[in-house]
Structure formats: structure tokens, C-alpha cells
């Protein structure tokens, strides 16, 4: 539990005058489920973009298993086993669910492990069954409901057999009936010893799931600890409810 797998060292990302992430040092431990909490605009997604290689940080470094990955392109980062999902579902809408899941199989990471088409198909079917979308395999993703699309995107990330899974608001837009099965799949994936980082701005959604929470506001790390510690932290409460709010909440 104490082995650090993914780490940022004083990372900043600026867009012109806007500082989206500021002097941010984060350590993700192997095998944990880490939650990143923060109000809208706190810089959570920007942090994900830096971790997954979509943005190069303005300052600072990113390490994965003691290897610096700051300047790697996003496909190289994914090839190392750090795979992400998106806040707004991004699927290949002209392709079927099966084809969506086939794409990561063609990456160097998976195609080397599963060279034959039959083994790839077995892998895809296994992941699709695990997530519960096996009956949709031949549907075009554009025709699916939002809930199923979320699941397909999640399955596509799982097909890459990630070591670290970065989930950007996996529960947004899901109804309560859809939240439960997805949380179960995430837990099962975690039970295999994998590391998961989840972004949420609603604490309740992932309270049951995460083991540790890092709270962000305006690009900065404002608190970290267990879910209970975070939910009572005066800085976090202020970030959500405004200055002085912690007095009322704690009383």
C-alpha cells in the first residue's frame, strides 16, 4: 500500500493568465482508490490531462514507477498502462461497440499480448460481459443511451488492461440504478490489485468507493485524508459553500 506508483512533482499548468493547476504535488499509492474532489473549475480535469499526457505541464514533473513521463505523448502514457476516461463520454460514434473495444486491442500494449484475432475477441467479450454490455456489441454506439455509453467507455478503458485507471466523473449523468452496477465493476477491478483515481465534485457519489481523498480548489491542493477527515475539513467546506460556512456545518 505504501509503494508510490504515480506521482507529480510541483506541477503547474497555465493557460495564458489562467492558472489551472498550481504547484501541485500528488502521490498515488499502488492498489488504492484515490478520489480527487473539488468544485467546478478546481483544475481536476486539467490535472488528469497532465497525468495522461494530453497536456505538458508548464512546470514540474510527472513520474510513473520512478520513470519520468512528463514529456511522453498520450498514446505512450496509455501504452505504459495509465488509461483514462472522459468527463463527457468520448466514443467512436461511427463504429460499433465491438469495434470501439477493438481499437485499444490494436495498440502495442495489447496486440503484443494478444496477437491473434481469436484471443482478442475472447478478451473483448470477457470485458464486455464483466461490464454488462455484451448484448450491445454489434450496436453503433451513437444509438445507445447515456448510461450504456458510459459503460462502453469504461469497458474500452478496461480492454487496455490498465495498471492505473483515471476516471473523470464516472457517475455523472447516471441514474441511481446505473450507479450501483458501475461501482461494483470498479470495485472488482480494484480487487485485482489495480490503482484507480476518480474525479468527482459530488462527495456522496464516491464516498463508499474511495479510500483516500485529495481535495483541490483553484488549482491547489487544499486537503488530503480519509473521506471523513475531508468532509469535516474547514477548507473543503469553504471551497464548496463559501467563506465562513464551516462554522455552521461543524456546529
Amino acid at each position: 500500500m505504501n509503494e508510490v506508483t504515480l506521482r507529480t512533482e510541483r506541477v503547474s499548468k497555465r493557460f495564458g493568465g489562467l492558472v489551472a493547476v498550481s504547484d501541485f504535488s500528488l502521490e498515488v499509492y499502488k492498489g488504492e482508490i484515490l478520489g480527487i474532489l473539488g468544485p467546478n473549475g478546481a483544475g481536476k480535469t486539467t490535472l488528469f490531462n497532465v497525468l495522461s499526457g494530453f497536456f505538458r505541464p508548464t512546470e514540474g514533473k510527472v513520474f510513473y514507477r520512478d520513470r519520468e513521463i512528463t514529456n511522453l505523448t498520450s498514446d505512450r502514457v496509455a501504452t505504459l498502462g495509465i488509461v483514462r476516461t472522459y468527463q463527457i463520454v468520448r466514443l467512436f460514434d461511427k463504429l460499433t461497440v465491438y469495434e470501439n473495444l477493438l481499437i485499444p486491442c490494436l495498440s502495442p500494449r495489447i496486440s503484443m499480448k494478444l496477437p491473434s484475432k481469436n484471443r482478442r475477441d475472447e478478451h473483448i467479450f470477457a470485458v464486455a460481459s464483466e461490464v454488462g454490455i455484451e448484448s450491445y456489441l454489434d450496436e453503433l454506439t451513437v444509438n445507445l443511451s447515456h448510461g450504456v455509453r458510459k459503460l462502453v467507455e469504461f469497458a474500452r478503458a478496461l480492454v487496455s488492461d490498465p495498471e492505473v485507471l483515471l476516471l473523470d466523473e464516472p457517475f455523472s449523468g447516471l441514474n441511481p440504478l446505473e450507479v450501483e452496477p458501475l461501482a461494483e465493476v470498479i470495485t472488482r477491478f480494484h480487487d485485482k490489485g489495480k490503482t484507480i483515481v476518480i474525479i468527482e465534485h459530488k462527495l456522496r457519489e464516491f464516498m463508499k468507493l474511495v479510500q483516500r481523498v485529495v481535495a483541490m480548489d483553484r488549482g491547489k491542493l487544499i486537503a488530503q485524508g480519509s473521506v471523513k477527515e475531508i468532509s469535516e475539513d474547514p477548507f473543503v467546506i469553504e471551497a464548496y459553500l463559501g467563506k465562513g460556512a464551516s462554522r455552521f456545518v461543524n456546529s
Binding site: 495522461s52 494530453f54 505523448t73 498520450s74 498514446d75 496509455a78 501504452t79 488509461v83 483514462r84 472522459y86 468520448r90 466514443l91 467512436f92 460514434d93 461511427k94 463504429l95 460499433t96 465491438y98 469495434e99 470501439n100 477493438l102 481499437i103 485499444p104 490494436l106 495498440s107 502495442p108 500494449r109 495489447i110 484475432k117 481469436n118 475477441d121 475472447e122 467479450f125 454489434d138 474500452r156 487496455s160
Partner: protein
């Protein structure tokens, strides 16, 4: 079932094209068909890059020019027969496509289209600037013909077209084609699936440019002449042909190239009304069959073929 009908139609059409010189002794028809077949390859090669990745390439002529003028240059200095010249043109244009792709493929939408359109303008000016080697406005005459007879040239073009379109079609149906379509849908998501998007885009534009260049060389040998009219007239035509035929499956685009070339020849009879009737035909097609005239033969191509083999592989377990 649909695929069987489509396959029989394609095979039947190819067989008919091969038998045509035996069935009808019409040299005029063979000449038109040779040109139409060349355009079919151009439309197919355009589709393989633009139709698959969704980046409209307005620079087909620039790649054709590389092939066509290369033939003009090498046959002026050395006595090289058509086949090696065409292969050389294929490689050279592919390399130019690769070089052009490196800076331009970062651009999206209209910016990529404009960059490639600028390429054609540059190519046109280069042809004029180096008039001593390219023949400038007059072009270069006296290049070796593909064959001594029109029938021979026709068969040459036909074999070239069938092979080229088949290669592009099978590449399009391969995993590479699927990755290109994923890139078109969402480039970032393709990257986060661990795919080296840049590599595939460069590969695709190089292959597309190589076939355009080879066709430019083929046309130069077919006419025994290379000039601005042969090359630059084709630029927009090719895009229209591929779009009207239908993009994303190679063969519909090729059929579009064949059909529009023949229609263009047919409406020559309308004289002054030629352009008007041509435009009317295009507008009607775009309005009523926006997906392309021939795409219906191929819809869901990728998944259907795979579904059957997948079910076979599950039933084994």
C-alpha cells in the same frame, strides 16, 4: 447476403471490363474507359485518406504532379519503360505525401483543406517556374506510350486500376482502416486507447499520395504527354467523384470516379449546357443521396464480417 450481391456485382463488372475489347471493337470507348478507370483509382486513393480520417485533402493534383512530371523528367534523361517509372512515381509521391503530412496533419477541418489547396497552387507555380524541365504551359510531349495499341494501353490501365483499388480496399477493411475511422470519430480517444495516431495518419496520407502519384505517371504514359491540363484539372473532380460515390469504403468512391467520368463524357453532347447539366446532376445527387450513390452496397462493412467470425470463435469455447 448483401455482401454476396455486392461481391458478384464487382466481380461481374471487372470481368465485363476485361472482356470489353473482345466484345466490342470500339477504340473511342476504350480510351474513355481508360481515363475513367484512372479517375476511379484517384477517387479511391482520395477516399483512403480523406474518407477514412475525415480530413479533406484538396491537394490530389500536387501528388499527381509529382508522379506525372517525374515520368516527364526520367524519360527525357533515361530510357525507362513505363512500369518502373510508375513504381518510381509511386515511391516518390508517397515520400512527398509523408513530408507534406508532417506539418499539415496537425491542422484540422478547413485549415487542413486550405493547406493542401495551397499545395496545388505551389505545384502549379513550380511547373511554370521550372518551365525548362516541365515544359511550362505547353507541357512535355513524346513520352513513351503504355503500349503500342489502344487495347494494350487499356489493359495496362485496367490491370493497374484493379490492383490499386483492391489494395486500397483491403487496407481499408484491415485494422488500419478501422483505426483511421476511429481517428476520424475522436482523435483524443484514439490516443488514449494507446494508438500512435500520428503514425497512422502519416501512413494513410503517404499511401494515398503514392497511388495518386502512380496514377499521374500512368496518365502521362497513357497520353504520351504531361501538362498542366492533365494534372490540375483533376483536383476538384476527384473530390466530387469520391463524395458522390460515397466515402469510407473505397469501392463506392472508385465507382463514383468511373460513373462521373462516363457521365461527363456523355453530357459533352449537350455542348453549351454541359456545365449546367453537370451541376444539376451533382446537386440532385447530393440532395437525395447524401451518403453517396454506392455506399448502400457496403454499410456496416466492418462489423458484419467480424460478427460471424466472432460467433465462430465463441462457439468453440
Amino acid at each position: 447476403m448483401k455482401m454476396k450481391i455486392t461481391a458478384s456485382f464487382i466481380i461481374g463488372l471487372t470481368a465485363l471490363l476485361f472482356l470489353l475489347p473482345v466484345l466490342r471493337d470500339d477504340l473511342y470507348l476504350l480510351t474513355i474507359l481508360s481515363i475513367a478507370l484512372s479517375y476511379a483509382v484517384l477517387a479511391a486513393s482520395w477516399d483512403f485518406f480523406s474518407g477514412f480520417t475525415g480530413r479533406e485533402n484538396f491537394g490530389v493534383s500536387a501528388f499527381m504532379a509529382v508522379g506525372g512530371y517525374l515520368v516527364g523528367l526520367v524519360t527525357a534523361t533515361a530510357n525507362i519503360p513505363p512500369l518502373p517509372a510508375i513504381i518510381l512515381a509511386f515511391l516518390a509521391a508517397g515520400f512527398v505525401g509523408f513530408l507534406i503530412g508532417i506539418p499539415t496533419l496537425r491542422l484540422h477541418g478547413p485549415y487542413f483543406a486550405l493547406a493542401t489547396l495551397a499545395l496545388v497552387v505551389i505545384a502549379q507555380n513550380l511547373v511554370l517556374a521550372f518551365a525548362r524541365v516541365t515544359g511550362g504551359e505547353d507541357g512535355l510531349y513524346g513520352l513513351p506510350y503504355l503500349s503500342e495499341s489502344i487495347e494494350g494501353s487499356y489493359y495496362y490501365v485496367l490491370v493497374f486500376s484493379v490492383i490499386s483499388i483492391a489494395i486500397l480496399y483491403f487496407l481499408g477493411r484491415s485494422n488500419m482502416g478501422l483505426i483511421l475511422k476511429a481517428i476520424q470519430s475522436d482523435e483524443s480517444a484514439t490516443r488514449s486507447s494507446g494508438i500512435n495516431v500520428t503514425k497512422y495518419k502519416l501512413l494513410s496520407i503517404s499511401i494515398s499520395a503514392a497511388f495518386a502519384g502512380a496514377t499521374g505517371a500512368l496518365l502521362a504514359h497513357f497520353y504520351g504527354y504531361i501538362g498542366r491540363d492533365v494534372i490540375f484539372h483533376a483536383n476538384l473532380m476527384v473530390i466530387i467523384m469520391a463524395t458522390v460515390g460515397g466515402v469510407g469504403y473505397v469501392i463506392p468512391a472508385a465507382l463514383g470516379g468511373l460513373a462521373i467520368s462516363l457521365i461527363t463524357e456523355f453530357i459533352r453532347a449537350f455542348g453549351d449546357f454541359k456545365n449546367l447539366s453537370y451541376t444539376v446532376v451533382l446537386i440532385v445527387m447530393v440532395l437525395f443521396v447524401p451518403g453517396g450513390l454506392f455506399s448502400f452496397m457496403f454499410s456496416n462493412r466492418h462489423s458484419k464480417g467480424r460478427r460471424e467470425s466472432r460467433e465462430r470463435s465463441y462457439s468453440k469455447n
